[in-house]
């Protein structure tokens, strides 16, 4: 298992109750597995219009692998400008 720190922004901060959370994730988990685990722990994520995961400042595919020292962020629908 690996302990992953996740950054939250916008409404994800409200859903997580803070700007960072930590979760235990299987070694070599995919982004999809991370999302499934997050949605189980924080069901309100499923009510969002959509959300993305960013790994090391890039939008990640569901199949992408996550490793322990990656910078992971949950990106709810953006609304800048």
């Amino acid at each position: 298992m690996m302990n992953i720190k996740i950054l939250a922004f916008g409404i994800a901060k409200d859903i997580f109750g803070g700007s960072t959370i930590s979760i235990e994730l299987d070694e070599n988990a995919t982004t999809k597995q991370l999302k499934t685990q997050l949605e189980t722990a924080y069901p309100r994520l499923k009510q969002l219009a959509s959300y993305m995961v960013a790994v090391n400042n890039e939008y990640a595919d569901d199949a992408g692998l996550i490793t322990e020292h990656d910078e992971i962020a949950v990106i709810p629908p953006v609304s800048g400008g």
Partner: protein, 139 residues
């Protein structure tokens, strides 16, 4: 440098953006200024709160600028975005594009603001008299 991409916590300065983008090689400069509107769907807006994932937001804005350079003959691109609490009338975003001829500047500027709103990790919360809402969060 032909791009200037920044996120500021202090008020944006329109004149300094124009000063940076001006060039004797340009025949036209297009400047888009986003401003905080006083109403959303009939409700009075008290203020907006902007939050950014700074490092990634800069990276995404750099990608958009590169796409604009790839698609239009433009010379310089400036994108400044503000974060924090903004009152009605304040400026969350300034985009400035220079080109030899105006069509490219207009089209690239439009592309940059439209794409920024879709891909750049920046969020705004609308604060009303009776509550607040993260824009676009829910269907």
């Amino acid at each position: 440098m032909n791009t200037q991409i920044e996120i500021h916590t202090e008020p944006l300065n329109v004149q300094s953006c124009i000063d940076w983008i001006m060039s004797p090689h340009s025949g036209g400069i297009d400047v888009f200024i986003g401003t905080v509107r006083d109403m959303t769907k009939g409700k009075t807006v008290v203020c907006l709160e902007f939050e950014a994932y700074n490092q990634m937001a800069i990276k995404e804005m750099e990608k958009i600028a590169q796409q604009a350079f790839d698609n239009w003959p433009v010379q310089k691109i400036l994108i400044h975005h503000r974060t924090g609490v903004l009152a009605v009338g304040e400026i969350p975003v300034i985009i400035a594009v220079s080109a030899a001829h105006r069509a490219a500047a207009f089209e690239a500027c439009r592309y940059i603001i439209d794409t920024l709103k879709e891909t750049v990790p920046i969020w705004k919360k609308e604060v009303f008299e009776d509550g607040e809402v993260w824009v676009a969060a829910h269907p």
